[in-house]
Subunit: 253 residues, 2 copies
DNA sequence: CGCGTAGTTGAAGGACTTCAACACGTGTGG
DNA sequence: CCACACGTGTTGAAGTCCTTCAACTACGCG
């Protein structure tokens, strides 16, 4: 009898994610599995949580990806970040009972709810999981700081480049092998809202990147032609490949 | 014999901060106190941690404030956020052994180091502290998302306004009463680097805000003339006044 | 007193926005 | 089944906000 058969249809993507950084014990896996409720499916464009709406649980992204965004009084929108398979999302509900942002499915998604109390218990029981979740949260934090830097101090080409590199890196993590062509279900308006640009200028920026031979486009497919150049051009760093775990407390016997 | 006399000269500002959200038990206070090493003082402008430098500890801000920033290959700088009394900072060292950002004192500061391993033990022993630290980290996260939104989608006056409101709100937390005049030790270049603007334009924006009767300046002193108007104008939300704690595990008996 | 940093202002230039129009694909109701 | 609406992508022209460059002032400190 496998663990998966005990607790659900498939092992949680969160376990898979954390296992990337740490060899989890069966106890730890079970603790993570037990946090999650039944699966919920989302079609592209569907909202999972609405800004200012009530929330009392988080979610684990089991499949697909989403983004979180904020609407401004002026009518504008800012996309804050993208969430991928294995992410623990909706975490603003941890600090407040109202959602700070809207969560929207980008691709077809499967998510499982994690009641706040269940997360509290994981921290309460001690061990390494809470600490590791903290570390992952801090890594996400630095990734958002990178985006902040990109928007605050880079021009349109660099902004778009960093975002393409970021998305590519994250999608690779689940895809497995090294991919240089990605399927981008985002509209140019989405990209603009993520980069602090207008959709018009995103379009022009795409064109210029093509003309410069940096990328190739084919419908929604996008190919990076010279990744090393893009990386050095933007100073991009993948914040997820590695996380230090030497400081974690010992695993329970 | 008081707790403070047992473990150090003064109770940790981190205890004070967390007590704002939760009534801590003596055990919890002691656990927090024991994390910290000896005090270290910084004069304004002094670096605490250098970007890409080695780091193996975090710090608690016991007094004063700092900012974290990133230098770009192009020579520019982006200030990512400001850190105030009671903050746990340098947390990128949790995920990596190299610092992701530079930490610089803004005012006279006192900080105490927290070895990564000591933090790991706090998580490891379980209870509420780890969970609460996670919640606070997530609140900071939302605050940074607010700044991202500000830089991505607002004009110079709104950006500067949100930053002024943010700093004022945070300084009040330690100052006690409601203050509408703050001492700003930041240069206009600092402000520009925080807002994604040039120092020249920060200057012009200050002037226009004065002309519009939004603020008054006197050297480094800055007075907000109509705070309610600024708040509704920018949609500013103070992310620190309140944090939900209903989901935390029970305190140890 | 001289030097360096910070603040201030003007003039010119540039990156991005705004407005507008059109092409294209897709779904939907008459 | 076609007409039409609608969202998305694309391109041009004009305008604006912010930057860049440059000069000058003010202030603190050796």
């Amino acid at each position: 009898m496998t663990l998966a058969s005990l607790v659900g249809a498939r092992p949680s993507a969160l376990i898979h994610r954390l296992s990337h950084y740490l060899r989890l014990t069966p106890d730890e896996m079970q603790a993570i599995e037990r946090m999650s409720g039944p699966e919920r499916r989302l079609a592209p464009g569907m909202p999972l949580i609405e800004q200012n709406g009530p929330v009392d649980s988080l979610f684990v992204v089991q499949h697909g990806w989403l983004h979180s965004s904020v609407r401004l009084p002026s009518g504008g929108r800012q996309i804050l970040r993208f969430h991928y398979t294995g992410d623990l999302i909706g975490t603003s509900s941890i600090a407040w009972s109202q959602a700070a942002a809207t969560l929207t499915a980008v691709s077809d998604c499967i998510v499982t709810p994690v009641p706040k109390v269940a997360l509290g218990q994981v921290f309460g029981r001690g061990g390494r999981i809470g600490a590791l979740l903290f570390a992952v949260a801090k890594a996400e934090d630095v990734a958002m700081a990178d985006r902040l830097t990109s928007i605050g101090r880079m021009d349109a080409i660099q902004r778009l480049s960093t975002l393409i590199l970021d998305i590519t890196a994250r999608l690779r993590a689940t895809a497995g092998g090294v991919v240089d062509t990605i399927e981008l279900p985002l509209t140019q308006m989405d990209l603009g809202d993520a980069l602090g640009l207008t959709k018009v200028h995103v379009n022009r920026t795409f064109r210029e990147m093509e003309e410069r031979g940096m990328i190739a486009r084919n419908g929604k497919r996008l190919t990076i032609l010279n990744e090393a150049a893009l990386v050095s051009f933007t100073g991009f760093v993948d914040r997820y490949v590695e996380i230090a775990t030497d400081w974690l407390p010992a695993a329970a016997a």
